[in-house]
Amino acid sequence: MPGATPRNIDVARYLDHHRMMHRIRAFEEAAAKANEDQLVLGAIHLSIGQEAIASGVCKNLRTDDYLLSTHRGHGHTLAKGADATAMMSELLGREGGICQGKGGSMHIADFGVGMLGANGVVAANINIAAGAAHAIKLKGDDGVACSIFGDGAINRGPFLEGLNWAGVFKLPALFVCESNGFASTTRTEAMTSGEGAAARARALGVPADEVDGNDIVAVDETVRAAVDVIRGGGGPRFIVCKTYRLHGHTASDPAAYRPRAEVDAAWKNDPIARCAAVLREAGIDAAELAAHRDAAATEMNQAYETAKTAPWPDLALAYTDVQDIGDPRERAF
């Protein structure tokens, strides 16, 4: 198993990570099951294999720090502190959904824990996060705004504009690129000119680190250092987390466009197993670790059961929260 990391770890912290990573994994597995059961309504994108990034980033953010995520945002949202049942209910479009069933997987948000939204438009969250950081600065707060996005997103213009913006205004912004090798069915390297995300960030004046995104210790420590700098007024930072998308692009994509052997090899690098190995080495009992897994499975299966039995949202919601000005019910035909 790869990934020798310093063993002098804060055990409680990594137990938290381990627990969270299992919760994310279990959530995604329950969501995959729900998808098979045809109870998930739209497309969902699983983050299986990328849990160390979600957990490693969000543990270093405060609840009042802001997070902006992508289409592949379940893990980020859970790690930021959102309730799994409310999230699952959203995937099923039910009452009790975290966005009242109006958004679905790609628009999951929980403003109560600083999670300002997943996004259905690749890279759109970068500028929004830069703007949230701008608001923090204008208000004189000491928060941080974080945007997580994929390696495909670095080819969209907002990547340049948002990073330049954060650099020019010296904003408290953390940019995290989940470099999982793919953008849908396309290998990102085939569509990326130059050295990639970190080089681009540096050229835009945003200092960048590259870490093994499946190594929770590396992610946690790198993010912690970056957040310290940012919160201290040091301006924006960028972190590339190298990982692999273990499942298809969506939960329904068999991902036949890549060799089985490649996927098998990637599974050997499972970030949860690696985290467990670190904890075992630090003296934690296998049973305790297994208990995390089981508790997570129980929680998420329960979330699914609850979501499943929830009714559809109240029809009146169709007309609420459109806008304050003008009546959306006004007959327009």
């Binding site: 309504l41 259905g120 396309t186 035909f333």
Partner: protein
């Protein structure tokens, strides 16, 4: 005639045009693996990755580079994946593609087809469901096509590829799997010629794209109540076939326009305004519209359905019209 799906008809059209003209090429994300809806499946095997070209997630560049490639003598077919994502490339479409020929004093044309899969597709929510066809009717220089059948998806796409204008080509995501008879060979469906989906005497219903089929089913329901509805499929919105609509309304005296997009500022308003003006005396009842309320599109099906105009609503409106 061959029976094929709407998606296959588009594929056939593209393949035929690519065989005919080596300057035709397609570009967009994931085309090499068949495109996100399988509507490019197998094409890379025949035409190679240069002509069925993958693209980075760079909508501005996909659109903007295609403008340059069109000016420089090729005929790009641009895949935008979802009409919603084309909003990342509006400058390139509206300020560049649409205006270049005019601004540059006629020194160039910009022959490109912009494929924008549109519309509601169960629970795709507010950023993957929009129908913004009316926007592009408002932009001088653009052609707007909205095929509703496999045959039209072949004939209009082929015509769009051969056209020297930028054509915004809206395929409806809900229609990909729809089967129908498609004429073999060189089918070129002219722009601005409507199709009479169904003849009738009492009321004219104008529609396009997926909503046309709802209108057609509503007409079937009306028939059972002895109301004879003529259903017109516009096929293209710019140009749109006024002659066909006027002729029909002169006969029926009544017009309902129904579309999936938001009613306010939708193309139904243009048709209603035009017909209300020009056929003022021929109208037995006011021109009506049934289209989406001005709310974003929800994820949960019952909320999403609030945005859909149903057969029942169309029937209800027609009943109001004939009894007024």
């Amino acid at each position: 005639m061959t029976v094929m799906t709407y998606a296959e008809a588009g594929m056939t059209a593209l393949a035929e045009e690519m065989r005919r003209d080596p300057l035709v090429w397609a570009v967009g994300e994931d085309l090499g693996r068949g495109g996100v809806f399988g509507q490019y499946k197998g094409l890379v095997e025949e035409f190679g990755p240069e002509r069925i070209s993958d693209a980075p997630i760079s909508e501005s560049a996909i659109m903007g580079a295609s403008v340059g490639a069109a000016m420089a003598g090729t005929r790009p077919v641009v895949e935008m994946r979802f009409a919603d994502f084309a909003l990342c490339a509006v400058d390139e479409l509206v300020n560049q593609a649409a205006k270049a020929r005019y601004m540059l004093g006629g020194q160039t044309k910009v022959p490109m087809v912009i494929r924008e899969p549109m519309g509601m597709w169960r629970s795709s929510a507010a950023q993957h469901s929009q129908s913004l066809e009316s926007w592009y009717t408002h932009i001088p220089g653009l052609v707007v096509a909205v095929p509703s059948t496999p045959a039209d998806n072949k004939g209009l796409l082929k015509a769009a590829i051969r056209a020297d204008d930028p054509v915004v080509y809206f395929e409806h995501k809900n229609l990909w799997g729809m089967e129908g008879e498609v004429p073999d060979g060189d089918l070129l469906t002219p722009f601005g010629k409507a199709r009479i989906e169904r003849e009738g005497r009492d009321v004219t219903i104008v529609s396009w794209s997926s909503q046309l089929h709802t209108a057609s089913r509503a007409a079937g329901m009306l028939e059972k109540q002895d109301i004879s509805a003529e259903v017109i499929d516009l096929r293209t919105l710019w140009p749109w076939d006024r002659d066909a609509v006027f002729a029909s309304v002169e006969k029926t005296g009544r017009l309902l326009i129904t579309h999936e997009s938001v009613s306010v500022g939708g193309f139904g308003a243009e048709i209603a305004a035009t017909v209300s003006e020009h056929l003022f005396k021929a109208l037995k009842s006011p021109v009506r519209r049934r289209a989406a309320p001005r709310i974003p599109i929800s994820y949960a099906p019952p909320l999403e359905d609030v945005v859909r105009v149903s057969e029942a609503q169309i029937v209800e409106t027609v009943l109001e019209m004939v009894s007024s």
